[in-house]
Assembly symmetry: C2
């Protein structure tokens, strides 16, 4: 299901790298642990890293109800959410053609504010389960006070585009005769062994969801 | 050497996480392979991932001279560059206190455009050497035409702040009695074995700078 390629999300420089199908967009949103949230306040653009979670056709964002970002977005400011996965360094034979392999989604729009406590709690479950699947049933759920202190926003996944670069370097024809080594150094966000909180009981067993996460995201 | 903590980069929500010293800021800028570049065009904020390199007291950015981002910034638009390193998932005993360990720099300002070909070439050397130290002498340097097609911008590292979270979760006092496992899952961008370009001569040896990079960034 393609999203509308609006004039604003249309790729201008490298249209061959642009993809608009929802499966590609959703996979990038779901894999990346964080996004970068951009908004305008007083004519200045601010870009802040934050957690996100996808719920169907909406991207959920959250933060302190007292914070500037949440207040500005809740008031209807246009937002740009960009999600980037770094996949590798592309080493070409010429300096000019060095690049990155990456997958990126740019999402524009305005948010709706989640009001009902049950809807906010469902969103916080989505955030927790996105961080580490299986985590939600293992922790204390949010109190009424905590829900009240948290603003949850939903951005429709509508005006969206993905940009993807994969594969080896692309050099100028005459440069393939050069002796320079060329290729890709793959990069991946990798989990190390979990570090227990020093304030936990020393005999506390590591739960299945933590073992599963570190095994799935550990070094290849 | 602290940078000015302007009204705009002052942390409002969690001032205890804010740091302003240049050594911390420079270390984050130098470690991160990419940044997120935010600018306003027609009232809408756009956030794009791009490469950066630090040269002393300036952050260098580059792109196609024909692209919208470079043209908008070169025309004097205010810019926000955000650089984020993801260090771990923070698993608390309550859903509410789940968090990330991360290091982040937010840099505001306007750019100067590098004009002289020698200055632009020095900047492209800085980009190439930041990607993989030792790479520049191994590749074909940019031609006059390539330099002309590339816009290089320099943003002063002046109005900047860093935000850092490290260490175990911080739970509410009464939650420490809960049985939930708590701790940190460390995350790190890790290099895999280099993949030679299929169009390279099969007997081409992997150069020292590629071996050094993958060894330094390989799995622990």
């Amino acid at each position: 299901m393609p999203t509308a390629s609006s004039q604003r999300t249309r790729l201008r420089r490298n249209p061959k790298r642009g993809v608009f199908d929802r499966a590609t967009i959703d996979a990038i949103l779901d894999e990346a642990p964080i996004c970068h949230l951009g908004f305008v306040d007083g004519g200045q653009c601010f870009v802040l890293p934050t957690l996100h979670a996808r719920s169907g056709d909406e991207l959920l964002l959250h933060g302190s109800a007292a914070g500037r970002a949440m207040r500005t977005l809740a008031a209807g400011a246009p937002v740009c959410v960009t999600v980037t996965l770094v996949d590798g360094l592309v080493l070409a034979r010429s300096a000019f053609h060095h690049s990155m392999n990456y997958r990126c989604v740019v999402l524009l729009g305005t948010v709706r504010v989640l009001g009902a406590p049950a809807e906010k709690e469902a969103a916080l479950e989505a955030f927790t389960e996105k961080l580490v699947p299986g985590r939600w049933p293992a922790v204390r759920p949010p109190s009424a006070q905590e829900l009240k202190a948290t603003t949850v926003l939903a951005l429709p996944i509508d005006e969206a585009s993905a940009k993807v670069r994969t594969g080896p370097p692309v050099d100028d024809d005459e440069d393939y005769a050069l002796d320079a080594w060329a290729g890709v150094i793959p990069l991946e966000l990798t989990a190390g062994p979990a570090i227990p909180d020093p304030r936990m009981r020393p005999d506390a067993a590591q739960p299945e969801h933590v073992r599963t996460y570190t095994a799935a995201h550990g070094p290849r």
